[in-house]
C-alpha cells in the first residue's frame, strides 16, 4: 500500500550521501501519512518556506497536515526548503522539488500551499516554486492545477506577494482548508478552468484572490483605491474557529528521524492574547482570546505523548501564563508528566504572572534558561507600548529565579519604539544592572558569577497594530542609540547584542509593503537572494539593488509616518480589529496611557461585535 516513488528514490540515492543530513530529504518518518494514490482525489503539497528543522517544529503545519489527511480522498504531504548543497544537486540533476511522503514532484499536485510565518522567508517561496518547475508569477500559470496559495500570519498583508499567489487564506485554517479543497473537487469533476475555480473560491469567507482586485495609486505613491471585480467581496474577512475547545487537533505528529529545533510534543492551550501590547501583531490578528478546557489539554497531551513517544511536551500559546486556571492546569499536567517521566516545558510565560508556585512546578520538572521580555527600558516607554510590566515585576521574577539556582537571565528589548529617547535606552542598561544587583541581594543565590544577556532588536511596525502608522527608526538613529548603550555599559556581566538592523529594515518594508513591492522581491530573488532569515545567506546589498532597480524607495515603506486617513495596502483585509480602535490606541500610546487587558475590561477593539459577545465574555 506504500506509494513510494521508487525511481525518485534511486535518483536520490545517487547523491544523498554527498549532502548534509540527508535524512531530512527522504521522508519515511513515523507518523507520516502515506496513501494509495488511486484512492486520492486531491493532492496538497504543504510547503514550509524554510528548512526541515524549522518547518518540522511548526505546530500549524502539523494541525493542517492532520486535518487534511483525515479526509480519506485528500492527501497532504510535506515540502521544505532544501539547503544550498541539496538544491545544487537537484538543479544539476534536473530533480524537481518533491514532496516527502510520495517523493512525487509537487508540480503535479492540485495545491501548492505555503505558510507565511515571517517576511524573511518570502524569497524562499520563489526559490521553491522555481525548483518545483512551477512559474513563480501567478499570471504565467495556466490549467486548473496546481493552484498556489498561502496562509499564516503574514497573509494579513498579502499585497507584496500578490503577484505570486493565486489566492490567500486569511485567518484560521481549520475549516477553510477543507472548503476550498471541496471546491477543487467540484472543479476537477466539471473540468472547470483555473479562473472559474478562483471565482468560486473567492466566495468562501476568508479567501482572498488578488487577481480579482484592482489597485490604484495616488501621485504621492500611497494607495488611492482598491476595487474588487467578478463578485469578489470588498472586504475579505478573516476566519476564526468559534468553538476552539472542539477545534481539530492532531492526535499524532510526524516524528522526525533527525534533530529539529523543537523536537517534542506540542499542545496548544489557548489562542489569541488578552494583552494588547501595541507593537505585537500576533496580539491583534489572533483575537479573540479563546482557551481550551483543562480536560481537553490533558487528553491531547496524553494522546500525543502516547502516539509519538516523545518524552517532552511543551504548551504552546502567545502567553500561557494568562490561562485562567494556570495553577489548576499545571497541577494536573505535572501529575501526569511526573508519573510518565515526561519533561514539561513552558515557553512564553509573562514575567508578571510568574508566581512562586508556578515556577516551582516547572523547576520540579527541569531547569532551563530563563528569558524575560520587558521590551522597553523605562516605565514610561512600557506604558507607551502597553506592556504592562513594572520593574518590580521583573525584579520579583528574577529573584525567584535566582533563589531557584539560576545565574543567567536573558532580557529582550526593542529599540526605536515610538516616542523613544536616550533616556529609555539608558533604562535598558539600568534594568540589566538592577538584575545583577538583585542576584547578589538574593539570599541563597547560586555560587558563581551572574550574567545578563540583553538583546536589543530594532522595532518593526506591523499592519493591524496601533503602531502600523509609525515610522521605523532610521539607520543613523539606530546606530547612535546602539553606540550610546555601548559606551554606558561598563559592566562585563552584561552582554548586549543587536540583531541585524539591515534585516529588520527589509522586514519592515515587506511587512507594510504594497503590491508594487512584489517586483522588488522578484528582482532580489533573481539576483540570488534566498534564505534571508539566515545571517550567512542574507544579502542586504542585493536587496538594496533590487529596490533601486525597481524604482522603489525603502524609506517610503519603512520610515514614513502614515496618516490616519491614508488607505493602507491591506485595507481590503478585515482582521476583525477595527481601524478606529487602532487609531485610538495609537493616540493613547502617544499620550502614554495604558489600556487594560481583555480580562479586566473590554477595550472595544471590534472583535467582540464580529464574533458575537459570548466569545469575549468568556474571557472574564
Amino acid at each position: 500500500m506504500s506509494e513510494k516513488n521508487n525511481s525518485m528514490m534511486e535518483r536520490l540515492d545517487e547523491f544523498l550521501l554527498d549532502v548534509q543530513k540527508p535524512s531530512r530529504y527522504i521522508g519515511g518518518e513515523p507518523g507520516s501519512v502515506v496513501k494509495d494514490k488511486s484512492e486520492v482525489d486531491i493532492r496538497f503539497a504543504f510547503c514550509f518556506p524554510d528548512t526541515y528543522e524549522i518547518g518540522m517544529s511548526h505546530l500549524g503545519m502539523k494541525i493542517l497536515y492532520g486535518l487534511k489527511n483525515a479526509v480519506p480522498n485528500y492527501w497532504c504531504e510535506r515540502v521544505f526548503m532544501p539547503l544550498p548543497d541539496m538544491e545544487e544537486q537537484m538543479r544539476q540533476r534536473n530533480i524537481p522539488l518533491y514532496a516527502l511522503e510520495s517523493l512525487d514532484p509537487i508540480k503535479d499536485f492540485d495545491f501548492i500551499g505555503f505558510t507565511l510565518q515571517y517576511e524573511m522567508s518570502f524569497t524562499n517561496i520563489l526559490e521553491m516554486l522555481d525548483l518545483a518547475g512551477v512559474p513563480v508569477l501567478a499570471k504565467d500559470r495556466t490549467g486548473l492545477t496546481p493552484i498556489v496559495m498561502a496562509g499564516g500570519p503574514c497573509a494579513c498583508n498579502p499585497e507584496p506577494l500578490a503577484d505570486f499567489f493565486d489566492f490567500f487564506a486569511i485567518g484560521e485554517g481549520e475549516e477553510m482548508n477543507l472548503e476550498f479543497m471541496r471546491v477543487m473537487e467540484e472543479c476537477k469533476r466539471e473540468g472547470a478552468t483555473r479562473q472559474e475555480f478562483l471565482r468560486r473560491a473567492a466566495q468562501i469567507e476568508g479567501i482572498y484572490v488578488p487577481s480579482l482586485y484592482d489597485i490604484a495609486y495616488n501621485e504621492d505613491g500611497t494607495v488611492k483605491s482598491i476595487t474588487p471585480k467578478d463578485g469578489a467581496p470588498a472586504k475579505v474577512r478573516k476566519r476564526i474557529i468559534k468553538d476552539f475547545d472542539k477545534a481539530y487537533t492532531p492526535d499524532n505528529f510526524v516524528v522526525p528521524l533527525t534533530g529539529i529545533v523543537h523536537d517534542r510534543a506540542v499542545v496548544e492551550v489557548l489562542r489569541g492574547c488578552i494583552r494588547g501590547c501595541r507593537f505585537c501583531q500576533a496580539g491583534f490578528i489572533y483575537r479573540p482570546y479563546r482557551e481550551k478546557q483543562i480536560d481537553t489539554i490533558l487528553d491531547q497531551t496524553r494522546c500525543l505523548c502516547d502516539n509519538t513517544g516523545y518524552d517532552e511536551v511543551s504548551l504552546s500559546s502567545l502567553s500561557t501564563g494568562d490561562y485562567k486556571d494556570i495553577e489548576g492546569l499545571l497541577t494536573q499536567l505535572t501529575d501526569f508528566t511526573t508519573a510518565e517521566k515526561i519533561n514539561l516545558s513552558l515557553p512564553s510565560l509573562r514575567v508578571d504572572r510568574f508566581s512562586d508556585e508556578v515556577l516551582k512546578k516547572i523547576t520540579d520538572v527541569r531547569k532551563s534558561g530563563l528569558t524575560f521580555a520587558p521590551e522597553g527600558g523605562t516605565q514610561r516607554i512600557r506604558d507607551v507600548i502597553n506592556k504592562n510590566v513594572t520593574e518590580q515585576n521583573v525584579m520579583d521574577s528574577v529573584k525567584i529565579a535566582f533563589e531557584g539556582g539560576y545565574t543567567n537571565i536573558k532580557l529582550y528589548f526593542m529599540m526605536g519604539l515610538p516616542t523613544e529617547t536616550l533616556e529609555d535606552i539608558k533604562g535598558v542598561y539600568d534594568l540589566a544592572k538592577a538584575v545583577i544587583e538583585q542576584f547578589y541581594a538574593t539570599p541563597g543565590h547560586a555560587k558563581g558569577r551572574p550574567g545578563v544577556s540583553v538583546s536589543l532588536s530594532t522595532f518593526i511596525p506591523k499592519p493591524f497594530t496601533p503602531f502600523e502608522f509609525e515610522p521605523q527608526l532610521d539607520e543613523d538613529s539606530v546606530r547612535e542609540r546602539q553606540r550610546y548603550l555601548k559606551t554606558i555599559n561598563t559592566d562585563r556581566k552584561i552582554t548586549i547584542s543587536y540583531p541585524s538592523y539591515e534585516l529588520s529594515l527589509i522586514e519592515a518594508v515587506l511587512a507594510r509593503g504594497d503590491r508594487r513591492v512584489g517586483k522588488a522581491i522578484y528582482t532580489a530573488w533573481k539576483k540570488g537572494c534566498k534564505l534571508d532569515g539566515w545571517d550567512e545567506y542574507f544579502r542586504f546589498d542585493l536587496w538594496k539593488e533590487a529596490f533601486a532597480d525597481c524604482g522603489l524607495d525603502m524609506a517610503f515603506y519603512a520610515n514614513r509616518r502614515r496618516s490616519y486617513d491614508e488607505i493602507p495596502p491591506w485595507d481590503h483585509i478585515d482582521m476583525l480589529v477595527s481601524r478606529e480602535f487602532l487609531i485610538e490606541e495609537n493616540k493613547r500610546a502617544h499620550a502614554g496611557v495604558t489600556t487594560p487587558n481583555c480580562r479586566e475590561k473590554c477595550s472595544g477593539c471590534g472583535v467582540s461585535k464580529c464574533v458575537g459577545g459570548d466569545v469575549c465574555r468568556a474571557i472574564r
Partner: protein
C-alpha cells in the same frame, strides 16, 4: 543498580532502504521513541532525567545498511519475545525491522568480525587484482589520528561475483575495519573514484560462529 528484576533482552534488526540515511545517534532516538510508543516495560535509567536504556552493538556509517544488527535492553516484566518483536515492528519506521528477539548469549565485547556484501560499480577485474596483492595499505582515521593498516591479512572469505563483493573484516569496539577502506585503496591504486557503493553488513561474528 537495578531496583526491579529485569530480563536482559537482545533484538536483531535490519536497517535498510531509507533508514540508511539515519545516523547512529539519530537511530538511537528513533528506536527509543518507538519503544515508548509500544508501551513495552523497558527499563529506564534511574535519576533526575530517566531515559530508556538501549545499547547498540556496532555503529554503521551513514549510508551503510545492516541486515543483522543487534541492540540490547532490559524488560522489567515478562513479555513473550514474539510479542516484543511484533510491538516493536508496529512502532518502528518501515525500513527498520526487528527480525528476532532473544536472550543474549554473547557479550558485546565478544564481537570479533562482520560479514559484508558490497555492490560496486567499478571494474571487477581490477578489484580482484587489488584483493590478490601481497599488501593493501590504507590510511585508517581514528580518534587518535591516522595510521596505516594493511587490509590484506584482515580480509577473509573474499568472494567476488559479478559486481558484488562479499568479505569478512574485523569488527568490534576495540578494532573495527570499514569496508569502504578497500575502495579507498582502489582509488589510490588506480586513480579512479568509486561512486555509489551499496554496502550492507550481513552478519556479525563472535570468533568462528555467529554472534548470538
Amino acid at each position: 543498580m537495578c531496583a526491579v528484576p529485569s530480563v536482559n533482552t537482545r533484538a536483531f534488526f535490519s536497517k535498510t532502504g531509507r533508514a540508511k540515511y539515519i545516523s547512529h545517534l539519530d537511530l538511537s532516538s528513533t528506536v527509543i521513541r518507538a519503544m515508548k510508543r509500544t508501551k513495552l516495560p523497558i527499563w529506564q535509567t534511574e535519576g533526575f532525567n530517566p531515559r530508556t536504556y538501549v545499547t547498540f552493538m556496532l555503529p554503521l556509517s551513514l549510508g551503510q545498511e545492516g541486515e543483522h544488527e543487534a541492540m540490547d535492553f532490559r524488560l522489567t516484566e515478562d513479555v513473550p519475545f514474539d510479542e516484543v518483536k511484533e510491538r516493536l515492528n508496529a512502532a518502528l519506521p518501515p525500513d527498520i525491522r526487528v527480525t528476532e528477539v532473544t536472550v543474549p548469549k554473547d557479550k558485546n565485547t565478544d564481537i570479533t568480525a562482520a560479514r559484508w556484501r558490497i555492490d560496486f560499480t567499478c571494474d571487477p577485474d581490477k578489484l580482484r587484482r587489488l584483493c590478490e596483492k601481497e599488501q593493501i595499505n590504507v590510511e585508517k582515521r581514528t580518534k587518535k589520528g591516522v595510521s596505516t593498516v594493511d587490509l590484506k591479512p584482515l580480509m577473509t572469505d573474499v568472494e567476488i561475483a559479478g559486481n558484488q563483493l562479499m568479505l569478512t573484516l574485523p569488527a568490534g569496539n576495540s578494532f573495527n575495519i570499514n569496508p569502504a577502506l578497500l575502495f579507498e585503496a582502489y582509488t589510490a591504486e588506480y586513480g579512479e573514484q568509486v561512486k555509489r557503493l551499496r554496502i550492507v553488513r550481513t552478519n556479525i561474528y563472535s570468533g568462528e560462529r555467529e554472534f548470538e
